[in-house]
């Protein structure tokens, strides 16, 4: 471990920071953050994807307009979207304690992340779904497709690349939210940066956590965009 010894000779790299590497804490925290993000995003899509599609389909200019439903769902989504995440977290603690019989820790954090991000995901999905050319929807209608067939055979596959881009943006947003888990006793990179770094005024730890976060976000961004590009058949490939 000559490299770590060299680092420890520098006063900026504290013993505490080196300990984070030696006992793998930084990697475990990274994993916890990724795990919380992935589970939350998946569950948020379980709610947000159908919600976004319903918002698109029932819109005034959609394929099956239902004005009252669109208005009601639109208002609900907007209400949740307008509450800052930290405040929503605190407000949802009684709900977490009711459902999970514990208002703290990572499971509670995931519940809060899902509730906070599902409306966000719904808007992302809605904006992707609305990009599908109206003429294509009209063509599908002219072939006798019903509303459900148009959704799963036209809207979803045609907007797939855009949905993936939306997924990347949503993931990065949720990833950012996970950093607030320290507020309710959760773990992850954000909690590590706060509990070990901020509390002990150890800037090296804070910046190391930042570095790990940047790397993770970059990976998600680059791989996600690459996937969207590969799947998009509108771009002709040699």
């Amino acid at each position: 471990m000559g490299f770590l010894n060299l680092l420890s000779s520098n006063s900026f790299f504290s013993q505490d920071l080196i300990a984070l590497f030696q006992d793998f804490t930084i990697f475990i925290s990274s994993f916890e953050t990724i795990y919380m993000t992935v589970i939350s995003v998946l569950l948020a899509y379980v709610i947000g994807l159908p919600l976004g599609i319903i918002l698109t389909v029932t819109d005034e200019s959609g394929i099956y307009p239902i004005k009252w439903l669109n208005t009601v769902l639109g208002i609900i989504v907007n209400v949740f979207r307008s509450i800052p995440f930290l405040i929503l977290m605190l407000a949802l603690m009684p709900l977490a304690s009711f459902i999970l019989s514990d208002s703290t820790g990572n499971p509670a954090m995931i519940l809060m992340l899902v509730i906070a991000s599902a409306p966000y995901v719904a808007r992302m999905v809605e904006s992707s779904a609305k990009e599908v050319n109206g003429g294509v929807l009209e063509a599908a209608k002219s072939m006798g497709a019903n509303t459900w067939q148009i959704v799963y055979k036209v809207i979803l596959p045609e907007s797939l690349p855009s949905l993936i881009v939306g997924g990347v943006i949503s993931t990065v947003t949720v990833f950012g939210y996970t950093a607030m888990s320290y507020a309710i006793g959760g773990t992850g990179l954000g909690a590590l940066a706060f509990n070990e770094g901020y509390v002990n005024s150890d800037w090296a730890i804070i910046w190391t956590c930042v570095l790990f976060m940047v790397i993770i976000v970059q990976l998600v961004q680059v791989l996600g965009m690459k996937l969207a590009n590969i799947l998009d058949k509108r771009i002709s490939k040699k």
């Binding site: 072939m143 036209v154 058949k233």
Partner: protein
């Protein structure tokens, strides 16, 4: 047979209702290639969308083979739509599907078995001459190829009718020709009744058997193409059919003018020289706008006959005998 009865369509808008169709009546017989022509904003796109109820008429009836589409249940309407193919100006292909899977789409909707789908796709791609593009994506095709895919897709469920909404307007003249040839062939070999919406006279000239001229939300005249061409009555029809004829022949020479209409029924016998040789009558061409499609002449020619009444009568008699449409210009 498609019958449109007193079709009305109005759209609500902030400045009051906008009328797109008012009291349209039209009958399309089986086997027709029916052209509907009008300037933009005349209501022709709304009209064609009312036929398969993509637009719901405000009032009136759309009767297809005796069944009133405005009165059937939604499930039945979706079934009927499989019997009415439609193609569009912008092709409207599914960008994320290959050519063959685009053609497969209506077959999936109609719940056709997979093996049957494959057979059907192969024969359709043959008809539109795109067998080698089965695995290509729309982004790799030219405009004409895209429209061929759209035609194959529209024909997948073996519809009796095919609606074409400005299907050639986004294509160059040569590609337009080939798509029109294809539509004509489909009409002839598969017996599909074709309804064509266009603003281009050449489309009507080239393949339509009947034409309806639409202006200000209503059909102002309709009938066989040869008849409407020979004798357009409405101002809008005159403007569409003979755009600069009026300008060129407004200057009267005093001689009686005849407007000859060629609609492809005549072979390419040299008419003018025949008049001179066979009848010994000299004719003057004031205006000519004729085109050759498949060696058959289409278009108009305005001539004056030198001499008196006798010569004029001779020419008229000759035209009658040879089955050439004409109309005296007044």
């Amino acid at each position: 047979m498609i019958q449109l009865v007193n079709l009305e369509k109005t759209y609500p808008s902030k400045s009051g209702a906008v009328t797109a169709l008012k009291g349209v009546n039209l009958t399309v017989e089986d086997g027709d290639i029916y052209g509907i022509i009008g300037l933009s904003g005349a209501g022709k796109s709304t009209l064609v969308r009312c036929i398969n109820l993509l637009e719901k008429p405000t009032s009136g009836n759309v009767i297809i083979d005796g069944e009133d589409l405005t009165k059937v249940k939604r499930a039945r309407l979706l079934e009927i739509r499989r019997n009415i193919g439609m193609i569009f100006q912008q092709f409207n292909l599914l960008d994320q599907r290959t050519v063959e899977d685009n053609v497969r789409f209506p077959l999936e909707i109609a719940k056709v078995k997979r093996e049957e789908q494959d057979e059907r796709i192969a024969s359709l791609l043959k008809i539109v001459k795109l067998e080698d593009k089965a695995k290509a994506y729309p982004s790799q095709l030219s405009g004409g190829q895209k429209q061929r895919v759209a035609i194959a897709r529209a024909l997948a469920t073996s519809p009796k009718y095919l609606l074409c909404d400005e299907a050639t307007s986004a294509l160059d003249p040569q590609t337009t020709e080939s798509i029109l040839d294809l539509l004509k062939e489909i009409n002839k070999t598969l017996g599909v009744t074709v309804i064509i919406i266009t603003h281009e006279m050449k489309v009507i000239e080239k393949i339509c058997t009947k034409v309806a001229v639409i202006d200000h939300s209503n059909i102002v005249e309709n009938g066989r193409v040869s008849e409407v061409f020979a004798d357009p009555k409405s101002d809008i029809a005159k403007q569409l059919i003979i755009p600069d004829l009026i300008r060129y022949t407004a200057h009267k020479t005093g001689d009686r003018q005849l407007r000859l209409v060629f609609n492809g029924e005549l072979t390419d016998r040299p008419l003018i020289s025949a008049l001179a040789k066979d009848l010994g009558v000299a004719v003057n061409i004031l205006y000519a706008d004729t085109k050759n499609y498949d060696g058959r002449p289409y278009g108009h020619m305005v001539i004056t006959v030198a001499g008196g009444q006798a010569e004029f009568d001779k020419v008229v008699k000759y035209l009658d005998q040879n089955g050439i449409n004409y109309k005296e210009q007044l």
